[in-house]
């Protein structure tokens, strides 16, 4: 969701711009935001001081948390924005920018490295960029962003996306203004600023020819330096297509290979020839087309599939050919009319199958008769229902050889990677089973998660024809994995100092995101004509023109078969504006709207629309969770990833939790009850490309856990057992490790693990923790990737954290006494191969409870693990998310707030630890006194973990009963994880969580609130 968040931010910025053209106003706002951020950060960091200047506003604890999020967001926004601050302090600025997303601005030497890269870029940018360099870097950034937004919404978008840096360099500001009109809308990180390229209106224009799915040709002019995105949005606009994330543009490269046009890069650089010829194609075949919102989308998918079928790319049996053909006839020609001069006599001129014969045509006609009364939309739907079941539906095949030189085909699809020999499927690697995807020269590798009975992960290698095909396959894998498997696109790799590898990442919206966006579409169904496309046009060559009257329901009865011009006929109807606005929530949408020609007014309109969209988006219902393949679950024992989206559009990372359980809170009879609330927020900020501007912002706030709800318990308990096993597996899936790609284009890596925010049960008291083995286990499982982040937390809670660390890192820093426990945990974890937390390459650890400020050293130690990752991790055999070559970039801040009760006092201690891209903040709020159980080891009566997932948040609850001195104490720990990239009102979320906790357990007191925020910064190249 990072992208979305980023987009939102961008939108916000835009809105601001709209509100007051005056940059100052905006800047003020920005500053405010920054201030908030800074506040949080500042506490910890010195740099923050600067920020603080801007706005220090005491905010309730609850605010802190959210603030951070906000801050992060804002920062991220800012950072992504074209900072191009004046050359003056490029480095510092750059660093700030880069880091900006991360709450902690403190200069970290380590970070500098990254920054350096950025710097160079920035420098370039500086030249171009609006230099609003202000003393306060962050605020400045925001201002800049705003400005840019005003001037060129496009640019801002780009910046937010992070890609824009390069383009920006090219002197976009002026352009940006010009383009601003165009780009006003969505600033989804997904599609990074297409506009940039366009910015300079005086650039040379190039004529692009795009072959549409119905075979017609679309011509449009784009600026020579336009990005792929720009052209793509032009196309979608032309087609009146809102659900565009399933589609893409292809071109034929100099080696006659069909390639996907990268929306984030300049077209010119990709095609490497003067042949500006493209075709519009389906890039991601939706597994269930019935879930698409609009008929026009289904229609386009149908067109693609018809071609796939007719060309033999999608093999099917005779009967299926006939059936699909009959639906095609019904959709394009309407009911079979026996009386009519039979246009269908020309059926032979339509291509339905590669080896079509008379028998098939007769069968098609026969079946066509049976479809009488079916509307075109229904016929399309039926077509898709049948097509989607074909085994090769949506499978993108690549020629390869296996390790023994045998010719095989590698098929990339929604579920994973398939291996075919001839027509036979001989192997299959589901995404959850794949730990890493990489290529080196013409070799393509996948690292496989060890099976239940295996101890070591294995790597499978394939040979492709050449390095280009290997890279192409790799890219397709990365994109498919991201689209189908992730909640939000993985941030581009952090720009590593010394890594040269491809940083390519999928930049668009994921399926989950696009579904969410689609659910917001409420325009009237756009009118469009179904043309008989190529098949007919082909027949027209010598054949008489046919005009057929269709009895489509409410649709245009008259279909012209001449197709060329028709495609364009999409009626936008009144709904257009709305539609666009709807789309705008995603950055990509914004892009769509971008037109050079748009006037200022239009721009404003757009922006208004965007804001509307944004609002609606926020209100939008959470997207349906991805449907896990159950078999897979069993096999891998990994649970499916669940996607939860907060109302605010925040997608919370799915968490699985095993609950062992028994007692509900109500059961506890003990007098003293303590409720711990942990809040973890994780913000992942992606910085795109060289520009230090982070385009995508992912916020993964993990709200603190509140006391478990009985309801939850009941639900979860049932599941708990299963989950326990699965949890570990799922987590890895969820977390996508941001793998650093190493090396030149010749090779790159991608770690497809889905990062899961894990909620650990925190046991406030170490002693208790010891007792609670179950908790630990959970914690371990849950912990998964985020170890690095958790470090601070770990320090505070040596046990759990230590365990995690050990598990993840392999160990090294076990905290003292707790090692034993850890060991146990590890053992347990080992039992479940899947459980390995690992892969949080990004180093986002979900801090669990950093009650007290963490000791910096401890964090550091851990950090190395995180960063250093690979080697250690690999040894352990746990899924690694981390790339070896990356320098440590994770910053961790822990803030501990001690409060008597209400969580309003703030005492914040912050320490920063330089870590690589991830920044973590943990705030712990403790009631003045723990119930006194703290020091004493109690007897663990019961340990229960309850996990409930709400749309936006994941809550893990641990209930511990301890017997102390004859008194039994019940301690409930709740961990809430909020993940999202959009602006979440964290304060509110936190407040709500605490409130709920109190309500649920009126007889208990809240003793501690720990807020952990994680921000990840990644820079992208490529």
């Amino acid at each position: 969701m990072t992208t979305e968040a980023g987009s939102e931010k961008a939108e916000e910025v835009k809105e601001k711009a709209e509100e007051s053209a005056a940059q100052t106003d905006q800047s003020e706002k920005a500053t405010e935001e920054t201030q908030e951020v800074t506040k949080a950060e500042s506490e910890v960091n010195e740099k923050e001081k600067e920020k603080e200047k801007e706005g220090k506003e005491g905010k309730g604890i609850s605010r802190y948390l959210p603030t951070w999020l906000k801050k992060q967001k804002s920062q991220s926004q800012t950072s992504p924005t074209k900072e191009a601050p004046p050359a003056e302090e490029p480095d510092s600025k750059v660093t700030q920018e880069e880091e900006a997303p991360a709450p902690e601005v403190n200069g970290h030497a380590e970070e500098v490295e990254e920054k350096e890269e950025v710097k160079s870029e920035q420098v370039r940018e500086k030249e171009e960029s609006h230099s609003n360099a202000s003393a306060d870097t962050e605020p400045v950034k925001e201002e800049k962003v705003e400005e840019s937004a005003e001037k060129s919404p496009e640019e801002t978008k780009e910046t937010t996306e992070g890609e824009g840096a390069e383009e920006e360099k090219k002197g976009q500001q002026p352009e940006g203004e010009a383009e601003g009109g165009e780009g006003g809308e969505g600033q989804t990180s997904i599609f990074q600023s297409p506009l940039r390229l366009v910015r300079k209106s005086k650039m040379k224009l190039v004529v692009c020819h795009v072959t549409l799915l119905d075979g017609t040709d679309f011509t449009c002019e784009v600026e020579k330096r336009a990005k792929g995105q720009y052209l793509f949005f032009k196309m979608c606009e032309h087609l009146n297509l809102l659900e565009k994330d399933y589609f893409g543009l292809t071109y034929i490269d100099t080696h006659e290979q069909k390639c996907w046009l990268d929306p984030t890069k300049e077209i010119k650089r990709q095609i490497r020839s003067n042949n500006w010829q493209f075709s519009f194609n389906v890039k991601f075949y939706p597994p269930d087309p019935s879930l698409l919102t609009e008929d026009i989308t289904r229609y386009l998918l149908c067109l693609q599939l018809r071609e796939d079928v007719a060309s033999g790319r999608l093999p099917c049996s005779f009967v299926t050919h006939a059936l699909l053909g009959s639906y095609t006839l019904q959709a394009e020609f309407g009911d079979y009319e026996p009386d009519q001069p039979r246009p269908l006599d020309n059926i032979g001129q339509l291509t339905f199958a590669p080896n079509q014969n008379k028998e098939m045509e007769e069968k098609i006609l026969e079946l066509h008769k049976s479809h009488r009364g079916m509307t075109p939309a229904q016929a399309d739907a039926q077509f898709l229902e049948n097509a989607k079941k074909l085994s090769m539906y949506g499978v993108d095949l690549h020629h390869a050889k296996d390790s023994e030189g045998v010719d095989i085909m590698l098929g990339v699809c929604a579920n994973g990677l398939l291996v075919y020999k001839d027509r036979l499927r001989i192997n299959r690697f589901a995404w959850p089973k794949i730990l890493k995807i990489s290529y080196k020269r013409n070799n393509f590798y996948i690292k496989i998660r060890p099976g239940e009975t295996e101890q070591f992960e294995s790597t499978v290698g394939f040979k492709l024809q050449n390095h280009r095909s290997a890279k192409r396959l790799w890219k397709v894998c990365v994109e498919n994995h991201s689209f189908f498997r992730l909640n939000a696109p993985e941030p581009p790799n952090k720009a590593r100092f010394l890594t040269l590898g491809s940083k390519f990442r999928y930049s668009g919206r994921t399926q989950a995101q696009t579904r969410l966006a689609s659910s917001l579409i409420d325009r009237p169904a756009p009118k469009f004509e179904r043309t008989s496309s190529k098949r007919i046009s082909r027949s027209l060559d010598g054949a008489p023109m046919i005009s057929i009257t269709e009895a489509e329901n409410g649709r245009e009865p008259h279909l012209e078969l001449h197709s060329d011009s028709k495609v364009k006929e999409v009626d936008v109807s009144p709904g257009d504006a709305e539609a666009t606005s709807l789309q705008s929530p995603g950055p990509s949408e914004a892009d769509l709207s971008q037109d050079h020609d748009k006037t200022q007014d239009e721009v404003l309109k757009h922006q208004a629309n965007i804001s509307q969209l944004k609002r609606s988006f926020m209100e939008a219902p959470p997207p349906s969770p991805p449907q896990p393949n159950q078999w897979e679950k069993r096999l891998t024992s990994s649970p499916a990833t669940t996607i939860r989206i907060q109302q605010q559009q925040v997608v919370s990372v799915p968490e699985t939790e095993a609950a062992a359980a028994d007692n509900t809170v109500s059961d506890t009879k003990e007098p003293a009850k303590t409720t711990e609330v942990e809040i973890e927020e994780t913000v992942v900020v992606q910085e795109v490309s060289r520009a230090a501007k982070p385009g995508l912002v992912t916020v993964t706030p993990i709200p603190p856990a509140e006391p478990t709800t009985e309801q939850e318990t009941s639900k979860q308990e049932v599941k708990a057992e299963e989950k326990v096993v699965t949890v570990g597996k799922e987590e890895p899936k969820k977390q996508e490790s941001v793998s650093s790609e190493s090396e030149s284009e010749e090779e790159a890596e991608y770690h497809p693990n889905v990062s899961v925010s894990i909620s650990h049960t925190q046991i406030p008291e170490e002693k208790e923790e010891e007792e609670e083995q179950e908790d630990d286990k959970r914690g371990e499982q849950e912990v998964s990737a985020p170890d690095a982040l958790s470090l601070p937390a770990e320090v505070s809670k040596p046990e759990e954290e230590a365990n995690r660390v050990e598990e993840d890192a392999g160990a090294e820093k076990k905290t003292d006494a707790e090692e034993k426990e850890d060991e146990r945990e590890t053992e347990e974890s080992t039992d479940d191969p899947m459980i390995t937390p690992d892969e949080a390459p990004n180093g986002l650890t979900l801090p669990e409870e950093g009650e007290t400020g963490m000791s910096a050293p401890a964090e550091e130690e851990e950090e190395p693990k995180v960063n250093g990752e690979a080697s250690l991790v690999e040894v352990e055999q746990r899924p690694q998310v981390i790339c070896c070559s990356e320098p440590p970039v994770v910053k961790t801040e822990m803030v501990t707030i001690s409060d008597t009760f209400a969580a309003q006092k703030t005492e914040i201690a912050t320490k920063e630890v330089p870590i690589v891209h991830t920044e973590t903040k943990t705030i712990t709020y403790e009631a003045a006194q723990l119930d006194g159980n703290d020091g004493e080891p109690g007897v663990l009566m019961t340990a229960q973990t309850i996990t409930s997932e709400s749309l936006c948040t994941t809550t893990t609850t641990h209930i511990t009963k301890t017997l102390k001195g004859g008194l039994s104490e019940t301690r409930i720990e709740k961990r809430i994880v909020i993940t999202g990239d959009c602006d979440i009102d964290h304060d509110q979320a936190l407040a709500q969580a605490i409130k709920e906790a109190k309500e649920q357990h009126p007889d208990m007191s809240v003793t501690r609130v720990v807020v952990h925020k994680e921000t990840e910064l990644a820079e992208e190249e490529d």
């Binding site: 093999p315 099917c316 049996s317 005779f318 009967v319 299926t320 006939a322 059936l323 699909l324 049948n386 097509a387 079941k389 074909l390 085994s391 579920n415 020999k421 001839d422 027509r423 036979l424 499927r425 001989i426 192997n427 299959r428 099976g451 393949n629 159950q630 078999w631 897979e632 679950k633 069993r634 096999l635």
Partner: protein, 290 residues
């Protein structure tokens, strides 16, 4: 896909009687050293099976008369793979069995099935061998066991015939056949033997599939081969080996709720490496596209 519907809907069963030469290898009549089979008992068991299919399950039964020249012709499952309205006439591994297909082919044609041949001996599919007892169709996809009787080329022909479906190859350990260790026990249920070899095959199948199946594990290998039919009466029938033949697996079958269990003896045929499903071909002629 036009051909997709839940597994188990059948309207017809094709069987072939047990010849007097049952248990004897074609060509030499004296050889039958290891397995002493009881012809009469085999014929009785065959009668029980066909009776159950016709009277209990309610299928239309087509019985091809036995041919003494073809001692193994009763293993009719081997000679055709039927899905939807397409019947692939296979090429059994044993040369002597290849003439068994002729009678079956005729029946398939009479049933208006689209008959597909394996192709010429010498063609692209030369050397391809395929037997139906190595093919598990789940309703969603095919698994072809690469065994002593079925090879990759044979599987390729099958994949080329049933293009709508994923066709995955899985190893079958030892000298057994895929259907000896597993069979369908419901629309989404596979009955699997718990032997080590079977587990290996199961793991591979799990790895290869996109779908989710329930797995019913039975301790005895003989129990792993059953016949599931959702009859015209819309009830679930499972023909399985009786308690005498697989006592330990009864509890597993009891787990199938709302099933009508039909214990059907098959001790004689099993001595020759066959099992219940070997004795019949199941066909759905009431095929609807949805």
């Amino acid at each position: 896909m036009a051909n997709v519907c839940r597994y188990g809907f059948f309207t017809h069963a094709v069987v072939r009687g047990i010849p007097d030469t049952f248990g004897k290898k074609a060509g030499d009549s004296c050889e039958n050293g290891e397995a002493s089979v009881d012809l009469a008992k085999a014929q009785r068991q065959f009668g029980c099976l066909t009776g159950a299919l016709r009277q209990k399950v309610g299928l239309q039964l087509i019985e091809i008369p036995p041919d003494p020249e073809l001692p193994e012709s009763w293993r009719i499952e081997d000679v055709a793979v039927i899905q939807g309205d397409t019947a692939l006439i296979t090429r059994p591994f044993k040369q002597q069995r290849r003439s068994e297909v002729e009678a079956v082919r005729r029946v398939m044609s009479e049933l208006n099935l689209t008959v597909v041949e394996m192709g010429d001996e010498e063609g692209v599919s030369g050397g391809a061998t395929l037997e139906g007892s190595d093919v598990l169709f789940t309703g969603r996809e095919f698994f072809v066991g690469i065994s002593s009787h079925t090879n990759h080329k044979g599987a390729e022909v099958l994949a080329d015939t049933f293009r709508d479906f994923a066709v995955s190859t899985v190893p079958v350990c030892g000298g057994t056949r895929l259907k000896n260790i597993c069979s369908m026990g419901g629309p989404d249920t596979i009955i699997f033997s718990s032997s080590d070899g079977a587990k290996k095959t199961l793991r591979m199948m799990e790895q290869l599939t996109d779908h989710h199946y329930e797995v019913l594990t039975v301790p005895e290998e003989s129990a792993a081969n059953s016949i599931y039919v959702r009859g015209p009466s819309k009830r679930d029938f499972l023909l399985h080996r009786p308690a005498e033949e697989c006592p330990d697996s009864m509890p597993a079958f009891q787990k199938l709720e709302d099933y009508t269990l039909l214990p059907t003896a098959c001790s004689e045929a099993s001595k020759l490496g066959a099992s219940l499903s070997s004795l019949c071909l199941l066909i759905n002629r009431k095929h609807t596209y949805f």
